[in-house]
């Protein structure tokens, strides 16, 4: 679904960050900011809440840990305990390496899958980007025209941006 956006294009991250601060202070609604690399301080400037991926990772970790430990305990403790030199069937210390590895594996795979799904990163998806140069050296603030103040374009120019109006799906 395409919409009209006012795009403020920058060539450097310092004026971009400054512009974001100013625009937000003046009450403008920024749809999103696009950059060629992660800019420190940008998430705070945009008021983004911290990602919940670490929480997802922790949950997957618990799953992996439980899976690893209970799998070994059931297989060697309940289903088919084996007499290996008279040693105890539930050798908890021996179960540590596999439990650890499964915890790491499930955490990594689970978190990355969550990351891809939550970001809508499916192979073949078209990128929802205002300008193809963003992945090289252009920084872009996208403000939806609908609901934007009339002076936002000139304010952006004042803050050092090259201003464009585009109808695009973001």
């Amino acid at each position: 679904m395409t919409k009209k956006y006012i795009l403020g294009l920058f060539r450097d991250e310092e004026p971009l960050l400054h512009a974001v601060h100013e625009l937000r202070k003046e009450g403008n609604m920024i749809h999103e900011v696009y950059t060629p690399f992660p800019v420190h301080g940008l998430d705070e400037a945009l008021g983004y809440k911290r990602s919940r991926l670490p929480r997802a990772a922790f949950l997957f970790g618990c799953v992996g840990f439980t899976l690893g430990l209970s799998m070994q305990a059931w297989m060697l403790g309940v289903d088919w305990p084996m007499n290996i030199g008279g040693k105890p069937a539930l050798a908890w210390v021996d179960f540590v390496p596999v439990t650890f590895e499964l915890t790491v594996l499930i955490t990594a795979l689970g978190m990355v899958a969550t990351y891809l799904v939550s970001s809508d990163f499916i192979p073949g998806n078209e990128p929802k980007m205002p300008d193809p140069r963003i992945t090289s050296d252009v920084f872009c603030i996208a403000i939806p025209v609908e609901g934007a103040s009339a002076t936002v374009g000139s304010r952006l120019r004042q803050l050092g941006a090259e201003v464009q109006e585009k109808e695009v799906e973001l």
Binding site: R11, E32, V33, Y34, T35, P36, F37, P38, V39, L42, D43, L46, Y48, R50, S51, L53, P54, A57, M71, Q72, M75, L76, D79, W80, M82, I84, A91, D94, F95, P97, V98, F100, E101, L102, V104, L105, A108, L109, M111, V112, Y115, L116, S118, S119, D120, F121, I122, P123, G124, N125, E126, P127, K128, M129, P132, R133, I134, T135, S136, D137
Partner: protein
């Protein structure tokens, strides 16, 4: 964010965000150079050798190797540990250096991680192929079956290895790929036609949004936090293959830290070998600077010293314990029939890294390259010495035997180098060898131009400042 201008620059010369894109992405879009074709052909030939020897092995059986009842692990397991060890540098660079906020990792992490993945693939071929019936290797996994459901032996380090190596390969692959996505999008946005379709598919719709970068950094941090204990655990578990046995020279508690340090040592040496050539042939000297080479050599020095200390400790404990079997194991290593392997190992691993105390040698490309080759050779001999000398003469003299590799083992080893380099050449041609977005993110704080600007603002004389810091980072 302010960064002291007395730190040495990580990006030299004149460049810009778009120039960084050009320098890194251009080689992918251009036709392969004749050097690439030469290297790729040689690697492919060696890979062919691998295919021939592996096919012969699979059809005829493990008897075509030089192993015997006494020395039942030879070149196969030596090569396995050698390759796994090499893989550890990539994970250390990506993960551990991310946690320690070392900006210099950005120029080398992509190729080091690729090296890790290819090294682990080569490593993994050995446990698979050394099995009597490799087509039944899935039996190692605890899958329900018709044998009563006979489960795996979770008490065995050999099984822990299965989980460790599988996890290591998977997590490294995932970490590498997640980091690649933004750079693949860069290629996509410059491409047309088929190339655009392919890189578009591979970049999953990446759009450079602030939310996207926030999640990206979060995932990278957590993967780094996971990979760090993972890399420590993997080589520890590999060392347990030996340490949990009872034979002299193997049954020692020093193995886990010794092996992990040795792995980082040989891994960084391989990174140096690859990068010194790659930066020249792909004209990336501005990004993979002498400062990077210097600091990686320091890591080689540190880990080489740890390995050297481990040798001394082992030797001391053998003497101090007054256990005749342990003492014989080391006397045999030094003066027995494999003395030449032992002394090669000692020269290459103990003496050569100490040369890196010299700043001149640390910053010399020729010296770094030669020393890195020696370290790799030395670390191969270390695994050979540990495995073969302890096996060929343990407690019972009537079982003592000699071992030498058959042509199949030698060809498989050369072939594994072919497999590794074929994959690496493909990587260098089709994927960005430097993490372009990450290098851009350190441009403001760490490039020569920007540091000069900051210094001018602060009124600092950089030549004097750098003279005092003497390459410190």
């Amino acid at each position: 964010m302010f960064e002291s201008p007395t730190r040495r620059p990580l990006i030299t010369g004149k460049t810009s965000y778009s120039q960084i894109t050009e320098d890194i992405i251009k080689p992918i879009e251009a036709k392969p150079t004749k050097w690439w074709y030469l290297g790729f052909t040689v690697s492919l030939a060696a890979l062919g050798l691998w295919l021939v020897s592996v096919t012969y092995l699979l059809f005829t059986g493990v008897g075509v190797w030089g192993l015997n009842k006494t020395v039942d692990w030879g070149w196969d397991i030596t090569n396995f540990v050698w390759w796994v060890g090499i893989g550890h540098a990539g994970t250390l660079i990506s993960a551990v250096l991310l946690l320690f906020r070392q900006k210099w990792r950005t120029a080398v992490n992509r190729s080091a991680e690729a090296m890790t993945i290819f090294a682990v693939v080569c490593a993994g071929s050995y446990p698979l192929l050394h099995a009597g019936r490799p087509w039944l290797i899935y039996w190692v996994f605890p899958l329900p079956n018709t044998y009563g459901s006979l489960w795996s032996n979770f008490n065995s380090p050999l099984l822990w290895d299965v989980f460790a190596i599988s996890t290591y390969l998977t997590v490294s692959l995932v970490f590498w790929y997640v980091g690649l996505i933004p750079d693949l999008a860069t290629i996509r946005d410059r491409a047309v036609g088929i190339r655009r379709k392919i890189y578009g598919l591979m970049s999953f719709g990446w759009n450079g949004s602030a939310k996207g970068w926030q999640r990206f950094e979060s995932v990278s941090l957590i993967l780094a936090g996971l990979s760090t204990p993972l890399v420590l655990s993997v080589h520890t578990i590999v060392s347990f293959d030996f340490a949990t046995s009872v034979i002299p020279g193997w049954h020692t508690t020093i193995f886990p830290p010794y092996f992990v340090a040795g792995a980082v040592f040989s891994g960084f040496a391989m990174v140096q070998t690859l990068l010194i050539i790659m930066r020249k042939s792909m004209r990336l000297e501005q990004y993979i600077t002498l400062n990077h080479i210097d600091v990686m050599n320091k890591i080689i020095l540190v880990t080489g010293s740890i390995v050297g200390s481990a040798y001394i400790t082992e030797f001391f404990i053998a003497w101090y314990s007054a256990v005749p079997y342990e003492q014989y194991a080391f006397a045999n290593r030094m003066f027995g029939p494999y003395w030449w392997a032992y002394w090669t190992m000692m020269t290459c691993n103990v003496i050569t890294p100490q040369l890196f105390w010299s700043r001149k040698l640390r910053r010399s490309l020729t010296a770094s390259f030669i020393i890195s080759i020696f370290v790799n050779i030395g670390m191969w001999f270390e695994r050979f010495v540990i495995i073969v000398t302890s096996l060929h003469r343990d407690y019972l003299p009537s079982s003592w035997l000699m071992y030498s590799p058959s042509w199949v083992e030698i060809c498989m080893y050369i072939g594994s180098l072919g497999l590794f380099f074929t994959l690496f050449f493909l990587f260098a041609k089709f994927l960005p060898v430097i993490a372009a977005a990450e290098v851009k993110s350190i441009y403001k704080t760490s490039s020569e131009e920007e540091i000069a600007k900051t210094a001018a603002k602060e009124g600092l004389d950089l030549r004097e400042a750098h003279a005092h810091t003497k390459g410190a980072h």
